[in-house]
Symmetry: D2
């Protein structure tokens, strides 16, 4: 039983970590911090945890966190950077769910997040926590930077095509849509039920912070000799709670010599516990992964033309955040990769 700490547990990724870890056979949450809610039982904020989690929030404290085997950061960007040097110095390993260590180029990070990076010297140690891409390096990582929700869905969807240099990497389009939990639990007029229910819109069309992260990982997975991936990424806001759907479009470099796409995808992910390639002709629904760590994918080539369409769905709070964080922890500590994550999605 390893000891787990959570920094910033009042948001949705925090309660999702607690939901999953409460039933993990080899991990136990011993510390959960929140400056604003210190002293309050966790289950006062989240009644679903009544009877499952007895912890109360405490002030963040490096000494207490340092006694954990692993610490999750479920904080807004900018927080993990400041605590990281002191915390890593204690020998505790870290899974950061925030954006702080996802981008290797500190300048690029600073430009998209409108602030200088608070800890550029540790960026090199961070491993991007997409298991399908970096499983081996995650095993021994001290610091894992968990992928964002949109990037997870999109990167898995495009992976087989880019690894095999099959598409024009400079003309990638990712049209994605997210449930409202993607925006967190802050009190904002724009996220009231009365503002976004029964409606749909794009946002951040001219530039969203997940763009550089997406492009970096796509480039990491590209086969040798291909031009660096360039993406047009438009996110949309769905009138629902959980779920991300990415519809990605890629243009075949040579449509006449494409391999069987269905077979390509099935083989690529055959041994992956958390990627499910649906039968040909299927369309994945976000509800089919609600509360689970699975990513479901379909691929097709409409009218046999040059453009390939990939549809991939995840639960943004599970595979897009807390579930993938637990998956990374499992890999880091040599547990079964599915420990605590072998959950059937809640449908209907």
């Amino acid at each position: 039983m390893i000891k787990v700490g959570i920094v910033g547990g009042t948001g949705y990724t925090g309660v999702e970590l607690l939901r999953l870890l409460a039933k993990h056979p080899q991990a136990e949450v011993t510390v959960i911090t929140s400056r604003a809610e210190a002293g309050i039982p966790v289950s006062d904020l989240y009644p679903n945890l009544r009877g499952h989690v007895d912890l109360a929030f405490t002030e963040p404290d490096v000494n207490a966190l340092g006694q954990c085997d692993v610490v999750f950061f479920a904080t807004p960007h900018g927080v993990a950077q400041n605590l990281m040097p002191a915390l890593l110095a204690t020998g505790t390993r870290v899974v950061d769910l925030s954006a702080d260590f996802r981008i290797r180029d500190a300048e690029l990070w600073a430009r998209w997040y409108n602030q200088p990076h608070g800890c550029p010297e540790l960026i090199d140690q961070a491993v991007y926590g997409l298991p399908e891409l970096n499983r081996e390096t995650i095993k021994n990582a001290k610091l894992v930077a968990c992928p964002g929700c949109y990037p997870t869905a999109a990167q898995l969807g495009l992976m087989p095509l880019l690894e095999n240099n099959l598409v024009d990497s400079e003309q990638l389009i990712i049209n994605a849509a997210s449930g409202a939990t993607g925006a967190g639990r802050q009190a904002k007029v724009g996220m009231l039920l009365t503002e976004i229910s029964d409606s749909f819109k794009a946002y951040g069309a001219s530039g969203h912070r997940h763009l550089p992260e997406i492009e970096q990982a796509l480039r990491d997975m590209q086969g040798a000799g291909s031009k660096p991936a360039q993406v047009t990424f438009v996110p949309h806001l769905l009138p629902m709670v959980r779920g991300i759907h990415a519809t990605s479009y890629a243009r075949a470099l040579d449509a006449s010599s494409l391999p069987d796409l269905q077979a390509l995808y099935e083989e690529r992910f055959m041994d992956e516990p958390f990627v499910d390639v649906l039968p040909a002709g299927s369309h994945p629904e976000t509800r089919s992964v609600k509360g689970s760590n699975m990513c479901r994918i379909s691929v097709c080539q409409p009218q046999g033309r040059d453009t390939i369409v990939i549809m991939s769905v995840i639960d943004n709070l599970t595979r897009g955040a807390s579930g993938q964080a637990v998956q990374n922890m499992n890999i880091m500590f040599g547990f079964a990769e599915t420990a605590g994550l072998d959950v059937v999605a809640l449908l209907p």
Copy 2:
């Protein structure tokens, strides 16, 4: 590991049984029947089960079902009645989620369900499967009739008051609201998203089939010497998927001598694994029990007047159907009552 059969597994209570039983430590589903879908893998209908359940639907067959230790009926009313004599004769025990054996008076059943009862001779053997009321008799029951969703929520909410003869039992009001899964998975215009989304209405105000069931169980729990419970029951349809909320109103027989209601409720349910009395002043939310077997209850006495208000919430598919069915199975087979049901509700 006991062997479990499910009759009529294509509906929502069927897939919910599969979700719960797929992770049960002591039970394994070996047969699932559906005339209409025979031959089709279960996961074709319910993609959330991909990777968790490998079964395919088969034609209902008493021999195959008779080899199970327990069979669940997740069928519309009228079906279990016909199979029951042959099935019970095999020695298999049965948990019936339908309404067939809930009402002890066959005439009354026939009147509300507009058809003669198909198997009146077995009604006596049926135990009404509300564990908080009938735990001891459930243990040895051959046939458990699982309570309906509305009855479960309402009966638990009124139980402490009726057991102690505190309220006018002839003036009970149960105002309840259910998510749309309560209506099942039939193709009906009236249940289209386009008809019931973003709207709210009552239905069955002048008479709903759960009324006689509610009154029967309330009378079973009443203290000696009280007048038989009489209920005004109005159900409403919520524009959402899962969840039942019952707001019950009872008039104190003597408001000046009422005990502390909060203490009364807390003590009554102190040892119940699946009833949670919320702190005074709370209001239970249906989402706090989504996907879980818990019933959460609040009680208050507005303005110190004579009318007591009880709010109780359950997930209609879990505690209101399949979860309670598994709880009954656990009791029948001497398993831990929480086996397979120790699930954190999915929130948000």
Copy 3:
């Protein structure tokens, strides 16, 4: 063409007033105030108004408002009280959508709103703007206090029973549910889509500010010789945008001598342009009044027992606020009562 001013136009009742008045044949909005948004075009906040309303918000100013024939207050409680003496002194007539002048007992108001009433000397002049109750006095009123949303639905539903002394007025129960716009457009965590979507709960069960308002108007409509109405009122929050549904329960004083309830209701509201009694056996849906000023009502007497059930629906922003305000304006200025309000509800 009369000139209309709106104070506090940034909330949902403000935009709803603009939607309705933009097409009113005899009224024109000339001033709309908002301290926070002064200088901003109205259509920047509410894109549905693009092309229909050219106004910009201005600072509240009694002189400018005093040049209007009528001023609507679409403000939180406490605001209208402060401006009222100066504004009424200009001769402008006022329709106040807030709670400031609804309750005739200043002490009672102060207790429920946790602050002293800012203008008790004008309370006497205020007419409670429920046209079905006070149409004649509204005609010449200087100051109309528009009913709250819950009170409107509940009072219309109980009106025929109370006017005719048919029920026990001390045992009234109003179980009501509202769409989330009832809570306004403030940034509150508790009203995020992610908190209240796909869920249902009661709130304010032990005391809601609409209770004294409901009881006051019910007492106004009671026939002579009856005991003052006493209500148990429990509001609930619906996971949807617009609509209120009130399910009211009243106990017949003498069930054996009740008149035909359907006929009673139909006759009472026969000449009312904005009350529609549905055919016997119907259940009103909130969507049937979406965006319209209509209140639809059904009444029934389940199992022929003593308890009468009344279901009434309104759009909380239209009949429950801005539509009823316009209806009051029409009555005050001698316009057709339906002017600007002859709208077909948006269904589906």
Copy 4:
């Protein structure tokens, strides 16, 4: 006052026609047909019409319809084709909301709709009723084929780019999402609230019937000398009632010489009563057009790269069907184009 007939008025486009025409100053519905509901008052099916529409459904009858000045077909595809020769022979003009006469190539129509075209000889007379494209020919048309919902949103969004040969017309991508009313009012399991609420998915990714219609009209609007438009079109199903959002992607032929896109769009639609180009940097929301005939559009060029993104929203039942049908009628009969359509969208 012209006389209007509606064939097939029980679906959502039927009730939407009635909502709009009930308040039209120059048109009056005199006949509405439905084989299944003949004899039933329209307001029994659609309670929002109570008090506004007194008609009852009748059996379809060419003589009765032939006495109308104009007849709308609000029928599934295949129906209008059969009645059209007889009806046009009476001199009545027709606005067909179905797909029957949208595609000029009868072979192509037959392939996508899996049946031979029932009336190929009249296809030539049909005018595609997109006013921004064909206003002049609509004026004298005998038969107007109203555009589909997806095509309307997508075609308006791409129009300025294609008219001016600015983009690679062989690489167009239209990623669109629709509310569930787009699927009509048929009883289908797949459209139950319990199946599609709180979820999101693509459908028809490998081929949707609106594809040939979209390509045909895009080709009609292309400037001389360009290659025929070729589109990848992926529709998605939104968990909501009304609204279409099209996110279209087009690759600039020469990004370095593009005109100011914002100005291009604003100028193109300056005189269009039902197209609203939003300010630069905006994102249109579907709720901003709910119940209205407006199409709102935004355009941007993310990161200054080659790919242009256009977002366009309509209400699928109004601008995507019945509203546009009334707009066509207005043009055909010389009424103000906005007659009966000057409605403020219902927001919130």
